[in-house]
Amino acid sequence: MNLEDYQTVFTVTVLGLTLIAAFPTISMVVLFPEGSERFSEFWLLGPGHMAEGYPFNVQNGEVQGPVYVGVRNHMGGSQYYLVYVKFRNQTQSLPNVTASTPSPLLPLYEFQFFLGDGEMWEKPLTFSVEDVLFQGDSAFVGSMSINDVVFSVNVSAKWDSEYEGYYCQLFFELWLYDREVQDFQFHNRFVGIWLNMTS
């Protein structure tokens, strides 16, 4: 190597070290784009805290659960969440994930909570169907108790000859507070369990 080659190596080395020395200050001024995807995890676990053993055959007044509903925040900052618990028969509408619209059914129970980025929230939920009447090919559910709060539901389930049961669904919608809209918006996630009304 001649002197010019050595000079080039020296200059590049000094420039590199200068950048390293200046990086802490540069990083405080320049905003680097965040690479990770932003999303929320939403889950429902059975009584054994596993994705199995969910309540299925339910009787009038029999307490079911607990099932565990949980959320983990990966949205890159603190978020304000709302979970609606709803109850429907086979013909009533579920949320439409494609259209990002929630179920038009009125909520029964609800949870509201704040989560920092990366934090997790989980709550148990016990429930029972009340005032269940079987008439002809229908089962009528008059009310439902969720975590000891009794709600009037008035849902009628027709006999399903294919799966042989009177099916209703208990489902959970995840909503997120939108700062720009200044209200909760459906976060396009829901989970649920099918329940067979038995006498």
């Binding site: 050595y6 200068t18 200046a22 990086f23 802490p24 405080m28 949870f111 009794v150 507070y177």
Partner: protein, 149 residues
Amino acid sequence: MLVSSVSGVGSDEALIAIDRADSAIVLAYRAVLEAEGAGANVSGLLEELNFGAEALATANMLYRVGNFGEAVNFADLCYDSVVDVAAKADEAVRLAEFEGKRQFYVTSAASTLGVCCVVLGGVFGWRVFKRRYFRRVLETKPEVVSNES
């Protein structure tokens, strides 16, 4: 207007209490987000908000089932638990901004010192290297090459 049979509280009154609690919690949340954006540790403030959020959710549910008296109680509990959070968050913003500025000045000074050391060290090192390089070149004895032709 529906009236709770137990406490004599009407649905309108319950709704007003719930709206007040709802506005307070949203206001507090916005202040907490500002504090978080300023770099403050907001985990304690989120805990306080969660207490209020749980009370607000209970108030909403009790309102739905027609227990307006209890709904008002829970809405008031929510309001009382979050009404100070916005002020605490504002204080956290001020502290975070002060700490941020202090950290920026310290980091800038350290970086400037580091850059100066690297540049001066580079210039000095280059001069020393160049001097040695020339000395080595000058000390090099010319090789005698036999001319056989």
